[in-house]
């Protein structure tokens, strides 16, 4: 109680000392992009939060708001931990200079009360901060999963699955599920798997693609693997992977023409015909 009264009564000089110390940290630790005014006003808010929390013995709302602000500003977690460590040091030093008798008993009492002020704050601020990061990471994981196995029905009977990025076991499972579900839902005769954006095709990736293609074959559709870049073709040959059981094409364009041929269609250029008619008319006029 004694220390707390002393601390609050002398808050001005402690705040001043704290501000000086944290100001000196700015250049060494944090990015220079933070403007001086913002840094100072945030520091002031921080020290106010610390004192409010000490005065009220825990002020959840203020602490919560402050940690949210730090996260929104995108400042590192070390700003919070550094600030609280400085506060611990500054207040301990200050209270020692203010005291007449400094013995071991005094030290025990002092350190226990300083810990009592600072520790709940550290816990709460760090929990809030890391909790918010975990939330962001989990949201990104969901977003990534939504992007991981898209299926595009381009026209009646033809569906394309463009794959971009690394394929791990979880994603391979999703690819298989979406591919089969989509092929049945869209009544696809031909399914094109485009691997242009897959950086490495190792035996695991190849194995999953072969399984997916085999499953597509079982439900009565044809699976064409497209987008095999020359270097990927060479590594597949080196690895000794047998892809002879289903058709492959170098580009999506070629695969799509093959898919059109399988579904009994072909692309006709309308402009060429018009030109031909005009030529015929011209030649008729010329006669």
């Amino acid at each position: 109680m004694e220390f707390k009264r002393l601390l609050i009564e002398n808050s001005d000089s402690i705040v001043q000392k704290w501000m000086e110390e944290i100001e000196s940290l700015k250049d060494s630790n944090y990015t220079a992009t933070i403007s001086d005014e913002l840094y100072e006003s945030t520091n002031r808010e921080f020290v106010n939060v610390i004192f409010t929390s000490i005065r009220n013995e825990g002020s959840t709302k203020a602490v919560e708001d402050f940690s949210e602000k730090i996260i929104n500003l995108g400042w590192p977690l070390s700003y919070i931990t550094d600030g609280l460590q400085i506060f611990r040091r500054v207040s301990t030093e200050y209270l020692i200079t203010q005291s007449e008798v400094v013995d071991s008993n005094f030290f025990t009492e002092l350190s226990s009360s300083v810990n009592e002020w600072v520790e709940p704050l550290i816990r709460e601020l760090v929990n809030e901060y890391s909790g918010s990061w975990e939330h962001i990471v989990s949201l990104q994981r969901v977003a990534l999963q939504e992007l991981s196995a898209p299926l595009i029905p381009v026209m009646e009977g033809i569906t394309i699955m463009p794959l971009i990025g690394t394929i791990d076991t979880e994603r391979a499972k999703l690819i298989m599920e979406n591919l089969l579900e989509g092929a049945i839902k869209h009544n696809s005769e031909v399914v094109l798997i485009d691997i242009t954006g897959v950086p490495v095709v190792d035996t695991m990736v190849a194995h999953h693609i072969i399984q997916a293609a085999e499953a597509v074959r079982l439900i009565g559709s044809t699976c064409i693997l497209v987008g095999i870049r020359p270097e990927i073709a060479q590594t597949i040959v080196n690895l000794g992977i047998d892809l002879s059981n289903f058709p492959t094409k170098s580009s999506l364009k070629k695969g799509f023409s093959t898919a059109l041929a399988i579904t009994g269609r072909h692309v006709t250029d309308l402009n060429v015909k018009e030109n031909n008619i005009e030529k015929m008319m011209d030649s008729l006029r010329g006669e």
Partner: protein, 133 residues
């Protein structure tokens, strides 16, 4: 010799980390795109073997830069169950995990030099090198 850089393999995403480091080093050394893809694939196979069979281990890279030739050497080290019959795992199509069984013989074909040492219960060490042509 340049200092080694290592990637610890603990989870599936570490395979991606190892692969990216291998590809980056190969690129900086001046390997062509085909050899970059070969190296990245070999790293992927070795790192996946560690993840699948030994659960954890390390993939290390070393740049070999001597007067005669330059290349990239990779080491996959684990202290997993080890391989009882190396001749068997070097055969195409042999697998214990239901995969394609092309991993190790594939890596041997992808790289220029390949050396495997394994003790049952001790672990496995694979060293593979690719030279710049």
């Amino acid at each position: 010799m340049e200092p080694q850089s290592c990637v610890n393999i603990h989870k599936e995403w570490d395979i991606v980390g190892a692969r990216q480091l291998g590809r980056e080093m190969a690129k900086n050394l001046g390997f062509g795109t085909v050899d970059q893809a070969r190296i990245a694939t070999a790293v992927s196979e070795l790192a996946r073997n560690i993840y699948l069979y030994a659960e954890q281990g390390q993939v290390c890279f070393e740049i070999i830069d001597s007067i005669e030739r330059r290349g990239l050497c990779m080491m996959a080290i684990d202290s997993g169950p080890g391989i009882a019959d190396i001749g068997q795992v070097m055969q195409d199509g042999f697998t214990t995990s239901g995969g394609l069984g092309a991993g190790l013989p594939g890596v041997k074909r992808l790289m220029d030099e390949f050396d495997i040492r394994s003790e049952v219960g001790e672990g496995t060490k694979i060293i593979a090198t690719k030279w710049i042509r």
